[in-house]
């Protein structure tokens, strides 16, 4: 056995752990020959003895007697509480289930209502619905539209919803573009302006998109490229109901 191997078994040897008899004999033989390993074994044995002294010293320690009484009391009270608690929990389950169903129904209605465009609602409410219906067919031919419009000047107003509804793609495009635009934007968090507290941001208001000089970023601690000092940056200003600017965020 060499010192490296001895090092791997010295703790087991000192702790008198179960180990193969020949490994133990080899380790002891090695410690007789190697002074350093003998000292190492003595150290480990001393440590083991110290730990055993500590373990023996604490062996008689146990939790205070009153703890058992408290636990048994808790056990008894738990046995009483459980069946009582079972009754309201069932009724609470049904209440939660009904509330969830109502919530689902309400969200379905809300989604259906939102899916209808304001133009559709306007068209439904408008008295001259017939021409709109005529013009709103998705396969409506253009010349026919022209003929119809040419037929009466009094139906200019319905033309606006008509034109929108004739090409639903065109109608959605600006919204879609805006949505894409919004999702492509990176914005900072709103930073309160002046002595506004962050809590005042919860009061609501209106967001106004503005352009600022890039140098304005410095005031908010953002790094500014001095070569582009005079360029503009986009920002959203949160204007409160009182008309005061409450917070700002920068947009890229």
């Amino acid at each position: 056995m060499n010192c490296q191997r001895f090092e791997s078994v010295v703790a087991e040897l000192a702790r008198a752990q179960m180990m193969e008899a020949d490994v133990r004999a080899e380790a002891l033989a090695h410690s007789d020959e190697c002074e350093h390993c003998l000292a190492r074994l003595r150290d480990e044995e001393t440590l083991t003895r110290g730990l055993r002294l500590l373990a023996a010293d604490m062996e008689s320690m146990s939790a205070p007697a009153e703890l058992e009484g408290k636990l048994l009391e808790a056990f008894r009270s738990r046995s009483v509480v459980v069946p009582i608690a079972a009754v309201p929990s069932r009724s609470r389950y049904w209440l939660v289930a009904i509330a969830a169903m109502l919530l689902i129904a309400m969200s379905a209605v809300a989604m259906w209502w939102r899916s209808e465009t304001p133009q559709q609602r306007l068209a439904e409410k408008a008295p001259a619905s017939k021409p709109v219906e005529t013009l709103s067919g998705p396969t409506q031919a253009a010349p026919k539209d022209v003929e119809f419009r040419a037929g009466g000047d009094n139906i200019v107003k319905p033309q606006a919803p008509k034109r929108v509804r004739q090409n639903p793609v065109a109608r959605r495009t600006p919204e879609t573009q805006m949505a894409n635009h919004v999702t492509n934007e990176i914005a900072t968090d709103f930073m309160p302006l002046g002595d506004m507290s962050p809590a005042s941001l919860q009061d609501g208001g209106q967001i106004v998109r503005v352009k600022l000089r890039r140098s304005a970023l410095i005031r908010f601690g953002f790094p500014v490229n001095m070569d582009r000092y005079n360029e503009n940056v986009k920002a959203d200003v949160l204007v409160g109901v009182d008309g005061l600017a409450r917070a700002i965020r920068f947009v890229q």
């Binding site: 010192c3 390993c37 150290d43 110290g50």
Partner: protein, 206 residues
């Protein structure tokens, strides 16, 4: 209750969960000391040890059905729960950072094997206190293996179950923990030698 003494921990737990108060009393009587000592040796605080013991048995009452006999004994399960509670308490009380070595540098040295037998009670008490402080100053992951394997006399297999790690990990952590303890208990001038003990041993091929 006398016949309950013959029942195993598993059987007592099942009876307790079915509402048998005597079973809880018997299980508590059997296991409270090891849980309390483990918490005390890990934290060094009797109040934490009492709280943890209470929490462990309250947990057993509430959620004892999560115990799986296939994964280990009830004793190991309780020590595992106690470990979680102790570590949480230590985290809360910011005791996780090892104690400063001020008290270790007071020149106290663990007496050698020959000396231990003839030392009077006072020296024995000092030795115990020195070792206790050294154990408490270990980082928690080393402290817990020392407490389990050295002070609680838990086997490597059970320690691995309690700590949720491999037996090899327990073994290597214990080895490292003992090296740290020796370094703390040695006089300052020998501390550097202790750290390089493995290097030295590699050079000797007797």
């Amino acid at each position: 209750m006398t016949h309950k003494k013959d029942l195993s921990d598993d059987q007592l737990l099942r009876l307790m969960l079915a509402g048998d108060e005597d079973a809880l009393a018997q299980l508590y009587c059997r296991r409270q000391a090891s849980v309390y000592r483990f918490a005390l040796q890990m934290s060094g605080s009797t109040s934490i040890a009492e709280d943890v013991t209470q929490e462990v048995f309250l947990f057993l009452m509430r959620e004892g059905n999560v115990f799986d006999p296939a994964r280990g004994s009830v004793g190991a399960f309780l020590l595992g729960v106690a470990r979680n509670h102790v570590l949480r308490r230590l985290r809360v009380e910011h005791l996780l950072s090892p104690l400063t070595d001020d008290h270790d540098d007071d020149g106290t040295v663990l007496p050698s094997g020959a000396e231990l037998g003839v030392l009077d009670d006072l020296t024995r008490a000092e030795t115990i206190e020195t070792v206790r402080r050294a154990v408490l100053s270990l980082p928690p992951k080393y402290r817990e293996v020392v407490v389990l394997c050295e002070l609680q006399d838990v086997s490597y297999v059970e320690a691995a179950e309690i700590l949720g790690c491999a037996i090899g990990t327990v073994r290597s952590r214990l080895h490292r923990a003992r090296a740290l303890l020796l370094a703390k208990l040695r006089p300052a001038e020998n501390a550097a030698d202790a750290n390089s003990a493995s290097v030295k041993s590699a050079r000797c091929f007797a």
